[in-house]
């Protein structure tokens, strides 16, 4: 059963009408192809129109769509021979971050991603995609291993935030994220980061320092979620739409402000409508970026990575 967002409903209704017409035609052996062709054209126009004019809040809704592909959905489709690697060698294995060696189009990579769950049980198992410190430490261990074997790192970001729990504090959530930031800057291998869903604050940034930081079309990336921003600045949860507008958190906003390097398009209507097509586009982009980045000597790549982030900020002197 598909979950429909408000603005997806007119599209789904039109789709249902076309299906119904085709079904009836088949039953009564009638030719309705010219009529359905008109409606199908209308459908495409409606989709284009709807998705061209999405508000920032609607993008946030799409990024959290319950049917949206998660890290493992992409990994399954773009990688051959994914060998998952578990644990941080200290306290455990965080299920909110997955990672392992794999091949993309025959090329070895280390692919890491924040992982959400699809149903209630799975969501709990994945802690709603909110990593604990051991998740960030596992990610760093995997990245260091990739560096050792000269394999580039692909990082998929999709988290509502680092987990704000008691044990997370005891085990140093802040320290774990901070260390990743520092260490990712000096990784000798190419690092490509892609926001595939939600990019919430430090929890996202903790695996998002890269030579190329890209965002899928219907994702968000900012310092805080619209809901939390609303609750702090407006002292109420009701201003999430305004907060989303104010935060300028969409892919095109972030690109426009020079805070990410590129936007990866999704199939019309969103990645959740066609996992295979979305994965194909992502895979092609990763391969393209790998070619570019591998042509740059490691030291220069690191310098450029540091310079890029050092240039971010707006101030008056």
């Amino acid at each position: 059963m598909r979950t429909l967002l408000d603005f997806e409903r007119p599209i789904a209704e039109l789709e249902a009408r076309i299906e119904e017409m085709k079904r009836l035609a088949a039953e009564k052996d009638l030719d309705v192809s010219s009529a359905t062709a008109v409606l199908e054209e209308q459908l495409i126009d409606l989709k284009k129109e709807t998705f061209r004019n999405l508000t920032r809040w609607q993008r946030v809704q799409l990024s959290r769509h319950p049917d949206r592909p998660y890290s493992l959905d992409y990994i399954q489709r773009i990688c051959d021979d994914f060998i998952e690697i578990h644990g941080d060698r200290q306290v455990g294995d965080d299920k909110a971050i997955v990672g392992g060696f794999a091949k993309i189009d025959g090329r070895p990579v280390m692919i890491i991603g924040q992982q959400k769950g699809r149903n209630t049980k799975d969501r709990q198992f994945r802690n709603f995609g909110m990593p604990n410190p051991e998740g960030y430490r596992k990610a760093l261990r995997l990245m260091k291993m990739a560096e050792k074997f000269g394999v580039p790192v692909i990082s998929l970001i999709d988290t509502p935030g680092a987990y704000p729990g008691l044990e997370a504090e005891e085990r140093g959530q802040g320290e774990a994220i901070a260390r990743n930031l520092r260490e990712m800057f000096v990784l000798q291998v190419p690092v490509i980061c892609v926001v595939i869903g939600e990019g919430a604050s430090g929890g996202a940034l903790g695996i998002a320092i890269g030579d190329q930081v890209l965002m899928l079309e219907n994702t968000w990336y900012s310092v805080i979620s619209p809901e939390s921003c609303s609750s702090i600045l407006w002292r109420s949860w009701d201003y999430k739409e305004q907060a989303a507008e104010a935060l300028k958190l969409t892919a095109s906003d972030m690109m426009g402000n020079g805070l990410v390097d590129g936007i990866i398009p999704e199939p019309l209507g969103g990645a959740h409508l066609d996992y295979d097509a979305a994965s194909e586009i992502l895979k092609a982009e990763i391969l393209l970026q790998l070619d570019k980045l591998e042509a740059i000597p490691a030291e220069r790549r690191i310098d450029q990575r540091i310079e890029k982030f050092s240039g971010m900020g707006v101030f008056v002197e």
Partner: protein, 282 residues
């Protein structure tokens, strides 16, 4: 006859020009209620003579405490916030900045300076909680990054005094990237072998904890300081339980292995100098 009738309405004297009012002569400890003369309180580095409560202080007070003869060169003193996102919540961001500047006399939530500590060169960046909760936007990130560049160029050890609620929401994505920027500079300090001491003071939370504050060669703190990633309220709401006593205090954080030592503010300067004396030949 203007000396008989008031020409201008209201009180015109700016706060700083006012004579010290008698009630400013006394400090009451918010923790134990002990009443002290402000002069005595200042002599004790703004700690309570009875219970050792460490009052929150700003960059001006830290610079006075640390730098020999209070002599230092301030770096990037004029830098102030832009409004890249035209952010408006209940108030437009530039108005909030101007109002805070006026109220605090500061340009933003961090000041950076170079001076001597017991005769040894030190670059210090110190945050001011009074400026929008010590929040980190572009100016905070850039000033820290530049002060670190200064440390690198002159090969001088770096002291970061953190005091912040985290990243500044009004600069959204820009604020977030300051975490990355400052961490990049720390990687460079690390590579160059220059000591980086991080002093986490009350309170240090959010994106500041999750970037430069936790990346010191030495992470140190003051007694009783609140240090954490998520704020206590958020954690309480998440787990639906009351938090244990002393949770996220400096002592708690040290017990869990994330602080090297806790130093009484009265001994801060001498302790820093002793530490640098051992590790730094520069």
């Amino acid at each position: 006859m203007s000396w008989f009738t008031r020409k201008d309405k209201g009180i015109q004297t700016p706060t700083e020009a006012k004579r010290e009012a008698p009630d400013g002569l006394w400090y009451k400890c918010p923790d134990c209620g002990k009443i002290m003369h402000t002069r005595e309180h200042k002599l004790l580095a703004y700690t309570c003579s009875n219970c050792n409560y460490h009052e929150r202080i700003g960059s001006q007070e830290y610079f006075e405490l640390l730098f020999d003869d209070t002599l230092y060169t301030e770096l990037d003193a004029k830098m102030s916030s832009g409004d890249p996102l035209h952010f408006t919540d209940t108030k437009a961001y530039p108005d909030r900045i101007r109002a805070t500047e006026k109220k605090t006399g500061l340009k933003d939530a961090v000041r950076t300076g170079h001076g001597k500590v017991n005769g040894r060169d030190l670059v210090v960046a110190c945050m001011d909680f009074g400026f929008i909760g010590g929040s980190m936007g572009s100016v905070v990130g850039e000033k820290i990054a530049r002060a670190m560049d200064y440390s690198l160029a002159h090969r001088i050890p770096f002291l970061m005094i953190s005091k912040s609620g985290g990243a500044r929401m009004m600069e959204a994505g820009f604020s977030l990237m300051q975490m990355a920027k400052t961490s990049a500079k720390i990687a460079l300090l690390d590579k160059a072998g220059i000591p980086y001491i991080s002093l986490l003071t009350d309170p240090t939370t959010g994106g500041v904890t999750a970037s430069f504050a936790m990346l010191g060669d030495f992470n140190i703190s003051e007694p009783g300081a609140l240090i954490g990633f998520a704020g206590p309220r958020v954690i309480r709401e998440t787990i639906g339980k009351d938090l244990p006593k002393g949770f996220q205090s400096a002592e708690f954080v040290q017990e869990h292995g994330f602080l090297d030592f806790i130093v009484d503010r009265k001994e801060l300067k001498d302790r820093l100098a002793s530490l640098l004396d051992i590790i730094w030949k520069g």
